[in-house]
């Protein structure tokens, strides 16, 4: 386990370079950052800034049909993830670092019941028997606020709403009590009321499970209440970082300022003429 003086995750000069159809593009350009145990950190930027690729590069998950070249160091609890054997990496993924993605529709298998999918993951990571795994599944579904969890476990993904599906994916992600949860635009596909519920759920789970959170989003409103520190990304680089209150109150970089200025605000009226 990481001790408090050493960060849980320490990323140094991480770079990711994709080659697709002979074209080379440098998507992450040698960025460095760290996340302490139990800390919540936000990554903000526009589409194409490299924030999602950063998370995937750390986890050594490459998009299909591309070849990726990674550079730098990703120290997690002392070991460099980029140097691990794939088999060892499999023990990190899901178990110690878990991920939740934007689209809860495509992340679940449509022909298996939700319970069966969670059972499978739980028994794979813990070696529990089927019956034990099911008990744990029901417990997890309850943990993420799904009512009547024992019965709902037999339902299929299409029988859940978008918000409920995202809860299922969060249940899967936290099933092994990861030390770090990476959430990549976890509420972008959801309605605003459901978004608020999922954000509250993530806050509560962080508190109950003591896990660190890496929250990736384009939405400054989402980032505002969720994290302690923020990294602003532009064009594969980190252009600004700091405590969340400082970033909002005193953005230093022009780009951060431009992003903040462009956020529409509920209390400022636009066209009041009648």
């Amino acid at each position: 386990m990481a001790t408090s003086d050493k960060p849980l995750l320490q990323v140094q000069r991480l770079s990711a370079q994709f080659t697709r159809d002979g074209v080379v593009s440098q998507v992450v350009k040698g960025i460095s950052f760290d996340i302490a145990a139990g800390e919540a950190v936000g990554f903000v930027g526009e589409s194409g800034c490299g924030k999602s690729v950063t998370a995937r590069a750390m986890m050594r998950l490459a998009p299909e049909g591309s070849s990726v070249e990674l550079g730098g160091e990703v120290r997690f609890d002392g070991q460099d993830l980029l140097q691990l054997r794939e088999a060892d990496m499999c023990n990190i993924r899901g178990q110690r670092i878990a991920m939740v993605f934007q689209d809860p529709m495509t992340s679940l298998n449509p022909v298996l019941s939700v319970g069966a999918q969670i059972d499978d993951i739980v028994s794979r990571h813990t070696g529990m028997s089927r019956a034990q795994a099911r008990r744990r599944t029901v417990e997890l579904l309850g943990l993420v606020g799904i009512r009547d969890a024992a019965r709902r476990a037999d339902d299929f993904p299409h029988q859940f709403s978008g918000g409920m599906r995202q809860r299922v994916l969060i249940a899967i992600a936290v099933s092994c009590q990861p030390e770090l949860l990476i959430a990549d635009e976890p509420t972008t596909a959801l309605d605003v009321t459901v978004q608020a519920q999922i954000l509250r759920l993530l806050l509560r789970l962080r508190q109950e499970l003591g896990m660190a959170l890496m929250l990736i989003t384009h939405d400054f409103g989402v980032i505002a209440g969720m994290v302690e520190r923020v990294y602003v990304m532009l064009d594969g680089q980190i252009v600004e970082s700091g405590a969340v209150d400082d970033i909002f109150a005193r953005p230093q970089h022009d780009y951060t300022r431009a992003l903040l200025d462009a956020v529409p605000r509920l209390e400022s009226a636009g066209r009041t003429r009648s």
């Binding site: 526009e46 605003v192 066209r271």
Partner: protein
Amino acid sequence: MTTAAAADQPVLQVRDLSVVFPARRGHPAVKAVDRVSFDIAPGQTLGLVGESGSGKTTTGRAILQLQSASAGSVKLLGQELTTMPRAALRRMRRHMQFVLQNPYSSLHPRMTVARILTEPLQVHQSVAAAQMPDRIAQLMELVGLEPDMVQRYPHEFSGGQRQRIVIARALAVHPDFVVCDEPVSALDVRTQAQIVDLLGTLQDKLGLSYLFIAHDLALVRQVAHRVAVMYGGQLVELGDAAQVYDTPAHPYTRSLLDAVPIPDPARQRAKLAAAPPEPEFDQYRNPSGPCVFGEDHGHTGSSTWHVVCPGHSVSCRFWPPGVPC
């Protein structure tokens, strides 16, 4: 609903518009749009907000006659569209256009911008062939694009530029009314702000009326003169933007506004920490007995629509019991 001062006729008048998707394979019929009524005045924007599945898009499609209405009336420039013969409707389309969410799928990938912009002009025979290049250059300038880009293909443009092309195409035939269905939700926040500015400038310049459909309430506040809130196929609140945002009357509107994240860490943290009110509105679609305003509509058959103050009305449907008005 109160009628506005008789002086200016609304560009669009929607009355009791309903769309029912028939029962199919064991699934019951769905009332996607249920007796929706509103007006849009010349040069004004009505923001239509609500969650996914609330019927916003179907309302927009039914107004444009891309989806046939089951009941109700849609009048554009005083002319009834729902019963209009096809040929007449086709001519009428010049006055009503739309801008959709995804600028990647709404432009033909193998047509140059010049051809994309020429097509509507030819269909509606609104410009002589000789003047076509001038009109296209003019349209490009109108939406802030370089006229010499017209020989390019859509993939050579960014998302924001593509949405500008979509807007130029919609404006090519001088419409009076444009349905903008989530026109900026696929764009980055800085690009969103630019497109919203452009739509506003064009409205002022050309006197356009917009139905602006969006799920982003903060964004709608920036663009709309009036706002309609939709839930379960019905409008639950309608008023001037300031009325609906500053003094929301319906509990659903209040919960929707309350859920919008605030880009201010201290306030947003406090908001998330507060106990979340999560009332279920759907089960109060048709409550029996007197409504929250003390009227028993089942008994009297009166409208379930109540005037809060001039120009601001609220429905008593979907109102959880015990929530005061």
